[in-house]
């Protein structure tokens, strides 16, 4: 009798454990769950609207207090949501890059096409773009940080759910599938459960030490889309940081495909800079 009851109890406990384990995997540990969080986060950060235009100010701040400022106008057009995109950038300052233009045709899973126009000699230069880790205009942001890293390039795992500065967030750890495709060993992302805004991201180098920290400092709705209008990337190993402000963000402007062409590089539409 006692033996029978023990078998029964064991079976029930086993079933509970099994179901509990399955649930835990479904809601936490499954690759699908964390992948979905990161996929939606990338869409919110880099693909909002069909297109977008904004004035960008980047302040490059050294540990010693030195400051350099980059001002540019950036337009982005989605060829396909979550897929190919085109970027057009006009530099306003500092003086040595003023009136330079930059065109990027981005493909998430292969190298982007990049062109730079140097107005002093009227030269359209093709930029070799296999290294997405290169610094964007000398800032702490890499090219990849500016235009997004494909979700498929990393393995994602949901570490936990928690409160981050009063907001409910998913905490996701991402490890590059190909070690050589990134300069980080892994990264940890704090993604808003409701809006999928990325609040914070920590990059760890290949030895496991914290190297850079991204924070979204101000997020506000623009045309109904949550938009990070102030952000910081800090290199904790050098003390250098870059603060970025987006002003006059506009979505769904029906930007023409011709804006993202050689013609615009050499002769940006006058209305673009305004």
């Amino acid at each position: 009798m006692a033996k029978k009851r023990f078998v029964w109890h064991s079976a029930v406990v086993f079933l509970f454990l099994l179901i509990g384990g399955l649930f835990a995997r479904a809601f936490a540990g499954t690759p699908g769950g964390a992948d979905e969080v990161m996929r939606r986060s990338v869409l919110v950060q880099f693909y909002t609207g069909n297109d977008m235009k904004t004035n960008v100010t980047m302040r490059l701040l050294s540990k010693e207090g030195g400051e350099r400022v980059r001002e540019l106008v950036m337009a982005r057009r989605n060829v396909k949501a979550g897929g190919d995109q085109k970027y057009f950038i006009l530099f306003l300052r500092p003086p040595d890059v003023r009136d330079m233009t930059f065109l990027v045709w981005k493909y998430p899973l292969r190298d982007s096409d990049r062109w730079l126009y140097i107005p002093a000699i009227k030269l359209v230069k093709r930029i070799a773009a296999n290294d997405k880790r290169s610094s964007f205009v000398g800032s702490d942001f890499s090219y990849e940080d500016v235009s997004g890293r494909a979700v498929e390039e990393d393995n994602h795992a949901l570490l936990r759910e928690e409160k981050f500065e009063g907001k409910d967030v998913f905490v996701v750890k991402s490890i590059p599938k190909d070690e050589k495709s990134a300069d980080f060993g892994y990264k940890i992302s704090w993604v808003d459960k409701g809006s999928f805004v990325l609040w914070k991201e920590e990059y760890y180098d290949k030895r496991g030490s914290l190297s850079r920290v991204f924070t979204a400092d101000e997020v506000k709705p623009i045309q109904g889309f949550p938009t990070t209008i102030r952000r910081t990337m800090k290199n904790v190993q050098t003390g250098h940081r870059t603060e970025v402000t987006y002003e006059e963000v506009k979505y769904n402007l029906a930007l023409a495909d011709s804006l993202f062409s050689e013609r615009s590089l050499k002769n940006p539409p006058k209305a673009f800079a305004k």
């Binding site: 490059l60 050294s62 350099r68 400022v69 300052r93 500092p94 003086p95 040595d96 003023r98 045709w105 190298d111 096409d113 002093a120 000699i121 009227k122 030269l123 359209v124 093709r126 930029i127 070799a128 773009a129 296999n130 290294d131 880790r133 290169s134 610094s135 205009v137 000398g138 800032s139 300069d183 250098h240 011709s258 050689e262 013609r263 002769n267 539409p269 006058k270 209305a271």
Partner: protein, 412 residues
Amino acid sequence: MIASAFLAAIALCPCSRALALSAHGFLEGAAGVRLTDNPSQPKDATLGEGRLQVELSQEGPADSRLFFKADLIGDAVEERGDADLREFYLDLSPAQVLDIRAGRQILTWGTGDLIFINDLFPKDFVSFFIGRSLEYLKLGNDAVKFSLYPGPFSLDLVAVPQFTPSEIPKEERLSFFNPFANRIAAPGESLSTRKPAATLENTELALRLYRTFGSYEGVLYGFRGFFKEPVGIDPAERTLIFPKLSAYGASLRGPFLQGIASVEFGYYDSREDRTGTNPLIENSSLKYLLGYERELRTDFTVRAQYYLEQMLDYGAYKASLPAGAPEKKEYRHLLFLRLTRFLRYQTVELSFIGFFSPSDEDGLVNPQVSYKITDRLSVASGANVFFGKKDFTQFGQLDKDDNLYLRLRASY
């Protein structure tokens, strides 16, 4: 002259702010000294100048724009002051598919880095060889450019009514080969050149047809005008001339092996010596350029180029060459390497440029370091070291012109 008048007018005009005029520019000091004694060049300085550049841009109605850029120069090597109108043009967009640029303008096309085949617009390699900044490599043309964008391709058509030659070593600063004396020119010697007359039939035409095929850019080029270097001789006048030239070419550029590869081809039709029998006029030729650029690691880029020039009708050239005249080879090979390394958040740039021609046995090495002290203040220093065995080759004639230069620029 026009430049200084325009500058004065702008400076005196209190209404410039009301016109929403944008004004920029820089003040630059540059110095360069010889690294070796040069018997044909008595001065030790290759570069010594102060420059004030003024750039004004005025937007007008219907996407039009007036653009002006001029330098005021105090030159200690030539011991004179000068005003140089670099660019002064009007942009118009009269139709959705048409842009027009009229006036003095800098034109650049082709896939080469410091090597040009189908870009037959004037250049100033003297500035490059003495260490001025890269923007002085190109000279303005007085021209009209029509750019058409009908959709699947784009077309540039340039008409140059008044010929502008490339700047070549010919007087002070750099040594040059004197073909009349068959040696490097002595101090005080200069070469006279005769430009084609500014007539309707001498109007130069340049054409570029461009389209992309996915990530690849294909271009066709056409040109009818004159050589930009004085590669012809008028023996009666003892002067150098710019012979008639037509050129046809093509290029392709796009991603290849994690970098950017390019290939360019050109056929030069030397219209005044089609048979190649006139030794005083450059022969027709075929020109090829292969380029490859790749970012080897973060902020470190390598570019390599191979250029080949094949003289056509070489047998006729050799048969007609007077005894004792320097003999060119049928094939000229030129190798090019550029290394660029950025440090300290891209405020420090280390660069190395090397040219080497195995056929001419000459070359140039140009290391440079530049530093952006602040957003407005920058400094650059480097050296140009030339080598060569023969006095008449491109870099060989400059063998004794090795120099070290320093530039300091404040922008506003």
